[in-house]
Amino acid sequence: MSAPILEAKGLKAYYGPVQALFGLDFVVEERGVTALLGANGAGKTTTLRALSGLIAREGDIRLRGKPIGALSTEDIARLGVAHVPDGRGTFVDLTVDENLRLGAYARADGKDLKLDFERVFAYFPRLAERRRQQAGTLSGGEQQMLAISRALLTRPSLLMLDEPSFGLAPMLVEEIFRILAAINRDEGVSLLLVEQNASLALDLADHAVLIETGRVAMSGSALAMRADGSVRRAYLGY
């Protein structure tokens, strides 16, 4: 296995004076999929925010060996880390097309834009139909597709998603996870996935990290986590 694309050691995070993460250690392998699991309020969203530099953080965070713990959010994004936040972060007053164009805005290589758009519309044909529509009028599922597409247009090496299944119908969720798998497999994009739906996440992931109140409770391969009795009982419901 090659070097990890993302490595976090002793990750701490703060909301103002309140500490929310107390020293996390985990990795995302190159071309791999890591799932962050845990109950509500465990600190999963906080972890992604810390990695993106949206909140105050400490610790050793490295992207392909390069430290990013002191960089601003936009600089981290420009290094190829795409973060699809909880709530999707759509620009609700702009059209679908404008949202997508913004994904491509900061790219170093401006060429092949047309190809990228075609690829994205191949994954999500429904978006092509709604290009001129205002993003705020899309359904929840369509907004999720839009958010993922926008992230893809930044040509990321690492795609971080916060609860992609949230509020979506099961069939839609399956479709999205299928597409995420395709993105990982065919384009080599590494994934860091935050999910409350542990079963879905463990199907997709190679590695899993279980977070409880801001600390790593358990980590290992997805298969091992699936088989583990306590995880099954607490998070998989059987």
């Binding site: 936009e74 164009r101 913004l102 930044t154």
Partner: protein, 290 residues
């Protein structure tokens, strides 16, 4: 009737000035939720700069574009150095800083250029265009320049990537950062643009209201009124509001309150709109977040 049309027409000329000033105010408001109280004094200072260049022999249009460019840069510098440090301070602090900025520009203009009224050239000479009986050549020119500015700004924001990025940064700074937009610099660019637009407004107004350090005080109030009337979060509504205020001010001044009390019209518009329809004619309902 002809007098009425004349008042209407010259109201449009100053209305154009108010419209683009209102646009500048709303641009900054959309990005920062703040109104730049120093916009008028900055515009006045830019106008004096142009005047100085022409005084030194520069031809009008060269001085015009040089002033616009310098004002653009000046706006960026001011945002980075003076406005940025107060980004997270309470609203009152920022307002006081803007007032301070206004006082400094006013004092600088007085110190560098003196307090006596000077006349400012217009490139649109002659009595009128197209045999137009209702507007002087400068008034016609001013309206055209204002419309041109509005069109250019619209095109910039609608059709260019940079304009799109600036819109995004104003609407949703967090998501903008996540796609790699340098939100801080977008803000600075917004200030630069607003300062440039203000300079144009000042140079269009000066031949009409004459140049002295207090020239833009009244203009700023009318621009406020226009922005509030049109909807303070809608740039083109605000521009419309500016034209409307220009015409209203002129008509009320000619027929109702007398030309020396025209400012009370602006005051009445501001208070009236804020009381009865705070989001203006074209703005959106403001929702207070608990």
């Amino acid at each position: 009737m002809s007098e009425f049309l004349h008042q209407l027409a010259s109201g449009l000329a100053l209305g154009g000035v108010y419209a683009i000033m209102a646009l500048a105010l709303v641009m900054i408001y959309q990005a920062t939720q703040l109104v730049n109280f120093a916009q008028g004094e900055m515009a006045m200072f830019s106008t004096y700069f142009a005047w100085k260049l022409m005084d030194m022999g520069w031809p009008y249009w060269r001085a015009f574009f040089a002033t616009v460019a310098v004002s653009f840069i000046g706006g960026i510098v001011i945002e980075r150095l003076i406005v940025r440090p107060f980004a997270n301070a309470p609203v009152l602090a920022s307002i006081i800083v803007f007032i301070g900025l206004a006082l400094i520009f006013n004092a600088l203009a007085g110190w560098l250029y003196g307090y006596s009224v000077v006349s400012f050239n217009t490139p649109f000479s002659g009595r009128s265009w197209f045999g137009n009986v209702y507007m002087s050549a400068h008034e016609s020119g001013a309206v055209l320049v204002s419309l041109a500015v509005l069109a250019l700004v619209y095109a910039f924001f609608r059709f260019t990537s940079l304009g799109l990025a600036m819109r995004a940064a104003a609407q949703n700074p967090t998501s903008s950062r996540l796609v790699g937009i340098r939100v801080g610099w977008m803000l600075a660019l917004g200030w630069g643009l607003a300062a440039a637009i203000g300079a144009i407004a000042g140079m269009m107004a000066a031949p009409i209201v004459y140049l002295d350090p207090n020239m833009m005080g009244g203009v700023l109030i009318y621009a406020f009124a226009g922005a509030v009337l049109g909807g303070i979060d809608n740039p083109f509504g605000a521009a419309f509001g500016g034209f409307a205020v220009g015409v209203l001010e002129n008509l009320m001044g000619a027929y109702v309150v007398g030309s020396e009390t025209k400012l009370s019209v602006a005051l009445a518009i501001i208070i009236g709109v804020l009381v009865w329809r705070p989001y203006g004619l074209f703005g959106r309902r403001l929702v207070a977040r608990v």
